[in-house]
């Protein structure tokens, strides 16, 4: 059993609980033992980096220092946390930033989607898949920070990423080409300029609908929250009605791998995915 450190981040202890539960569920099925970092604290995103750079580095580095004690890979499902951790790592490695915590930049920081797209994991998924997601048309929505900036993420095809599409194919689903893979949903403005989020989110769902997708797949808790919880508002904004389930890639992995709790995860969604999935005979 491979051991991995785990930093859930604040969203996964609240609104994104189905993301947390499905990541844990899928990890178990793949023989990964997750060790949640003891006494982890908020990474500071997005407010710390908008306020004071040193504060942003400190808040991230405190967690990285805890992770470095074990030298295990650090699995990070929230892409905002991931991005802040990678910035702190870069500051330490390339600019020898002085920190109040003992952190040398020696923890492999892994964003969940990238981690589960490793060849070794994909091989296991192929072998352990019990319920291919046959007939499920998905649009893969990567958003911003999963791919940008590539100097931090290491993603080569940052304008047209394909790794989530490939994962979906392996799960048996049908990823559909669309042009909005990496467009921003405006997440950080959801509390303050909700009007902007409505416009950007409305556009994304219109395009998903135009592509005739059964659902939209993401690996970002902020994108998920924006697109899942406000579909009536987003619809009004663009003069349409939406009923497009927004799923975490890990939920679809869990479904294809036959995890017993998959239906429970879907129960936490505001836009019900069970209707679409049962029409396809998947739940």
């Amino acid at each position: 059993m491979k051991e991995v450190s785990y930093y859930p981040g604040c969203s996964l202890h609240g609104t994104a609980r189905e993301y947390d539960e499905s990541i844990r569920g899928v990890s178990e099925l793949l023989g990964l033992q997750l060790h949640e970092l003891e006494d982890w604290t908020c990474c500071g995103a997005s407010s710390a980096h908008c306020t004071d750079e040193a504060l942003a580095i400190d808040l991230a580095a405190r967690n990285l220092a805890i992770a470095e004690k074990s030298r295990r890979e650090l699995l990070v499902p929230c892409v905002a946390c991931y991005s802040r951790f990678k910035v702190a790592e870069k500051e330490v490695k390339e600019h020898s930033a002085k920190l109040r915590f003992s952190y040398q930049g020696n923890v492999p920081i892994r964003y969940s989607l990238d981690f589960f797209c490793d060849e070794s994991i994909l091989e296991q998924v192929k072998k352990k898949r019990v319920k291919p997601l046959k007939g499920l048309r998905v649009v893969c929505y990567y958003g911003c920070l999963t791919v940008r900036p590539p100097q931090l993420t290491g993603i080569k095809k940052y304008e047209d990423p394909v790794h989530m599409d490939r994962l979906m194919e392996i799960l048996g689903a049908e990823p559909i080409p669309w042009s909005y893979k990496t467009d921003c949903c405006g997440a950080s403005l959801v509390m303050t300029r909700t009007d902007i989020v409505r416009r950007l989110g409305g556009k994304l769902l219109s395009m998903a609908k135009e592509a005739e997708a059964d659902c939209l797949v993401t690996g970002c808790p902020m994108c998920h929250s924006n697109l899942d919880t406000r579909q009536d508002e987003l619809g009004k904004e663009v003069g349409d009605n939406f009923d497009i389930p927004i799923l975490y890639f890990s939920e679809l992995m869990g479904l294809a791998l036959g995890h017993k709790d998959a239906k429970k995860w879907f129960g936490h969604h505001i836009t019900d995915p069970i209707k679409v999935l049962s029409a396809k005979g998947l739940v």
Partner: protein
């Protein structure tokens, strides 16, 4: 370069070469929130070069920027414009210039207060504090109830043991603020 100019301050804090901008406007063309800005990203860079401090630090733009990094990855001169926006928000916070967007800086300060007191973001505490500050109690109330029914709202913050370190981090931040 005048060492007191906004240009040198931005260059020093961000490490970015603002002068390298030749106004191709690629940043603004690809910006998903440009439509809501009062000055476009390429114009921000020009105003920095001209030392138009009030215009830049008092703009809506620096608070509207969603940090999506589309501009940074597409700039032909490798200027990390999203990082410059962070730097401008940092300078604006300390400038005393009235922010062009009222609620966004308030949100950031409530967010940081929540980390300071709880170590983690407890979403419900954050939202309630923000509503108290902005006096907009009804916005998203029915959405909140729906989310509660779906088990998405955690009523109480979780306990954490890193309080002393968090306090130290914020102490040194507050010292920098006073300077």
């Amino acid at each position: 370069m005048n060492s007191n100019s906004l240009l040198s301050e931005v260059a020093q804090v961000s490490g970015e070469k603002v002068q390298a901008c030749y106004q191709c406007q690629k940043c603004s063309a690809g910006c998903p929130v440009a439509y809501a800005m009062d000055i476009l990203p390429n114009q921000v860079l020009r105003h920095i070069q001209y030392d138009h401090r009030e215009k830049v630090l008092g703009s809506k733009t620096i608070w509207i920027c969603a940090s999506c990094y589309a501009c940074s990855v597409r700039c032909p001169n490798n200027i990390d414009i999203a990082r410059i926006m962070d730097t401008l928000r940092e300078i604006a916070n300390r400038s005393g210039i009235k922010p062009g967007e009222k609620d966004v800086p308030v949100f950031h300060s409530v967010f940081l207060d929540t980390i300071k007191s709880k170590g983690r973001i407890h979403e419900l505490s954050l939202i309630l504090q923000f509503k108290i500050k902005t006096r907009d109690f009804f916005k998203d109330a029915s959405l909140g109830l729906k989310m509660y029914r779906k088990g998405k709202i955690k009523l109480f913050p979780s306990k954490f043991g890193g309080g002393k370190e968090i306090k130290e981090i914020f102490n040194s931040f507050e010292k920098r603020e006073v300077k």
